[in-house]
């Protein structure tokens, strides 16, 4: 737990925690609104977004790619809504039609265009590269107060921190209307809440979190973090405030335990190489959810929510 930890593990772990929290917060509301799988859809369409951005700009730079991913997420949400309304198809199937088609388009674009010179592939989109986000300029814990070293922090950290701050601010500012619109949309509308705009805002915030998290950790964590911490928290309490708190706790725990297990677990078992941190974080969040399913005090919910 010395200098090596600060250089190799501190930043990836922080990024993992921030990504997990940024996704878990909107995940709570998506869960209650039966929109959990929107995270699944968004994380799939990020790929065509970044590929299109790459083909347009010809280089792997972050901003165009983030913009492309965000645009793809918006296009996907609009298309899902269009297919659902115009085709009168149930939401799940409409989602399935749109995100598989866009993902297929992304893979095809990637395969037929020449991306051999750059680091852009499907595997990267899925797993991310959490382990590679090391803090080269750090020398130890004292680097945390060293401006020169701090300037060398990976840019991904700042981006995911900004996204997490944005998501938190959105949840904080719109708490009351969000809660009202989530539990009783008719009541909220009668109270003057623009529920349609708010619902769209929630999906956009989720998309922002997904895109920023995807940049650092790949899409597996994104789907898992949208759903697992919030679902586990839902089984712990009937109160939404407490549920959000539990979900943040579960998200942080998944990120830390998952990262440690991925990095050090194989060494304890006698192996030499680390395994995928993104996959391990998702797995740990699933284990937490399984625990909540088996022992969560409100797992049946028959007493109050029946």
């Amino acid at each position: 737990m010395g200098a090596d930890f600060v250089i190799l593990s501190l930043v990836p772990m922080l990024i993992g925690i921030l990504a997990a929290v940024a996704c878990a917060l909107p995940g709570n509301f998506l869960l209650l609104r039966r929109q959990s799988l929107i995270g699944d859809a968004i994380s799939h369409v990020v790929l065509p977004g970044i590929v299109a951005a790459f083909l347009l700009t010809g280089q792997v730079t972050t901003l165009p790619m983030l913009a492309g991913a965000a645009a793809a997420a918006l296009v996907a949400v609009a298309l899902i809504e269009a297919v659902r309304r115009l085709g009168r198809i149930e939401p799940g199937a409409a989602m399935g039609v749109v995100f598989t088609t866009m993902f297929a388009g992304g893979v095809l674009l990637l395969d037929v265009s020449d991306t051999s010179s750059v680091h852009l592939d499907v595997e990267h989109a899925l797993y991310g590269n959490l382990e590679s986000l090391i803090w080269i300029d750090a020398e130890g814990w004292h680097s945390l107060v060293d401006p020169a070293a701090l300037a060398g922090l990976p840019a991904e950290l700042w981006r995911i921190a900004a996204a997490a701050a944005g998501v938190t601010a959105f949840t904080w500012l719109f708490w009351r209307p969000l809660v009202a619109a989530t539990f009783d949309e008719g009541f909220a509308r009668a109270q003057g809440v623009a529920t349609t705009a708010l619902g769209l805002g929630l999906v956009m915030v989720a998309a922002l979190a997904a895109v920023a998290a995807f940049d650092a950790v790949g899409s597996i964590i994104v789907i898992a973090m949208f759903i697992c911490p919030a679902a586990a928290a839902r089984l712990m309490t009937d109160r939404l405030g407490a549920q959000v708190a539990w979900s943040v706790g579960f998200a942080v725990a998944s990120a830390i335990i998952g990262y440690v297990l991925a990095g050090y677990g194989p060494l304890w078992l006698g192996g030499q190489d680390a395994v995928s941190a993104a996959g391990m974080i998702a797995t740990v969040s699933g284990a937490i959810l399984a625990g909540a399913c088996l022992a969560g005090p409100r797992r049946r919910g028959a007493t109050s929510s029946a």
Partner: protein, 398 residues
């Protein structure tokens, strides 16, 4: 080259794979129809992602036993077991906890997929180092497939299709009215299980061709497209099967014709093209038909209102109505009605008066409820009934 591929001239293996993918597409479309009607389309997404864990575990187990880790049959057994476990986890979560099904689906697919990725990275570090074959399961790869594997896919596709045909009646019944099906003595759980089992079979067969991320598209897109064309479940399943088969056939053939074209995405995009075509062009439910219906309705309303205005000697200012009247020869460009226009206007006014009487009087409630301002009254009442109405209208004069 493309023509060769489409006419199955690219060699024995490519032909087998194309036939297998066609059978797979047919089965997926037909099976997916029942999932779609049961509103559980995305459940197949959980099934397909959950296979990755099984693939990884099966590889590790086979390697540990000293066998070839890439043996397709072994990998498929492993993925069937883990997909079955994922399915049970979704079922258990939705029945035993208060979590909704979509959250359970998302949780299972992300966690099983995440665990699968962990296993893949474990396999990468093994000195056997032959994991490259495993990553092809993510997006499918038919190039360089072994003959035994191609046979497995073709035979599996045929078997799953036969099962779907056998089970179509109970699956239809359950999809539309579970309560009635149960009262008829159909075992609901068994039929649901069979539907899931078929979706699982489609996933396994499709792993090598389309890949586990996109196989769900073959279960969802063709049924969604077929839904535009028909309201009958049997026809929908047949049509979805035909579209799925066409997508599988064209997709595999196109991708076999050029080295850089991946199979899975092309199959999915072919299906998506059929979906867009259906969305636009299907009669009745399609967008084009809807737009035409809207235009025709708008024309009818304008014409009718224009005639009523003429009948009452009111000027028509609305330019679209004016143009319609002139084009139909009912009015001159200066707005004065022609003889034909006067006659039609009188008929419209008389119809309106008959309707008004029919709607206030008794005995015609059923017909009167059909009033929409456009329908001629002769289409809902008999000549005798209209004569009776006219007799009551006459004293006041028209």
């Amino acid at each position: 080259m493309l023509l060769d591929a489409l006419t199955l001239q690219l060699g024995y293996n490519a032909t087998l794979v194309t036939l297998g993918a066609t059978l797979l597409g047919i089965t997926a479309g037909a099976t997916g129809t029942f999932l779609f009607l049961r509103k559980r389309a995305l459940l197949s997404d959980a099934i397909s992602h959950a296979t990755l864990t099984g693939i990884g575990l099966a590889f590790l187990a086979m390697t540990a036993l000293g066998l070839d880790g890439r043996n397709l049959a072994g990998l498929l057994v492993g993925s069937a077991l883990s997909a079955g476990a994922g399915l049970m986890a979704v079922h258990w979560m939705t029945t035993r906890t208060r979590l909704p099904e979509d959250a359970a689906i998302g949780a299972v697919l992300s966690v099983f997929f995440g665990a699968g990725i962990v296993l893949l990275t474990v396999i990468q570090t093994l000195d056997t180092g032959r994991q490259a074959g495993l990553e092809s399961f993510l997006l499918g790869a038919t190039a360089g497939m072994l003959r035994a594997e191609a046979w497995l896919i073709a035979a599996g596709g045929a078997a799953a299709l036969a099962l779907t045909v056998l089970l179509r009646r109970p699956m239809t019944l359950v999809a539309f009215d579970p309560g009635y099906a149960q009262a008829r003595g159909v075992n609901l759980r068994a039929v649901d299980l069979a539907t899931m089992g078929l979706a699982l079979a489609v996933t396994l067969i499709g792993l090598k061709v389309v890949g586990l991320i996109l196989i769900v598209a073959l279960l969802i897109i063709p049924p969604a497209a077929a839904r535009f064309w028909t309201d009958r479940s049997g026809a929908m399943a047949a049509l979805a099967g035909a579209m799925g088969g066409a997508a599988g056939y064209v997709g595999t053939a196109v991708s076999a014709s050029a080295p850089a074209l991946p199979t899975g995405p092309i199959v999915v995009l072919a299906a998506a093209a059929l979906f867009v075509l259906s969305l636009l062009a299907a009669p009745r439910r399609g967008l084009l038909a809807g737009a035409l219906r809207h235009v025709a309705h708008r024309r009818d309303v304008h014409l009718r209102q224009g005639l009523l205005a003429l009948a009452q000697g009111l000027p028509v200012y609305e330019s679209y109505t004016q143009r319609l009247l002139v084009r139909a020869g009912l009015a001159r460009p200066d707005g004065v009605p022609t003889d034909a226009g006067r006659a039609a206007a009188a008929r419209a006014l008389r119809d309106e008066a008959r309707w008004a009487l029919a709607r206030t009087g008794q005995g015609n409630e059923a017909a009167a409820s059909l009033y929409d301002g456009l329908r001629p009254i002769s289409s809902v009442l008999t000549e005798d009934e209209i004569a009776a109405l006219d007799a009551r209208l006459a004293p006041r004069g028209v």
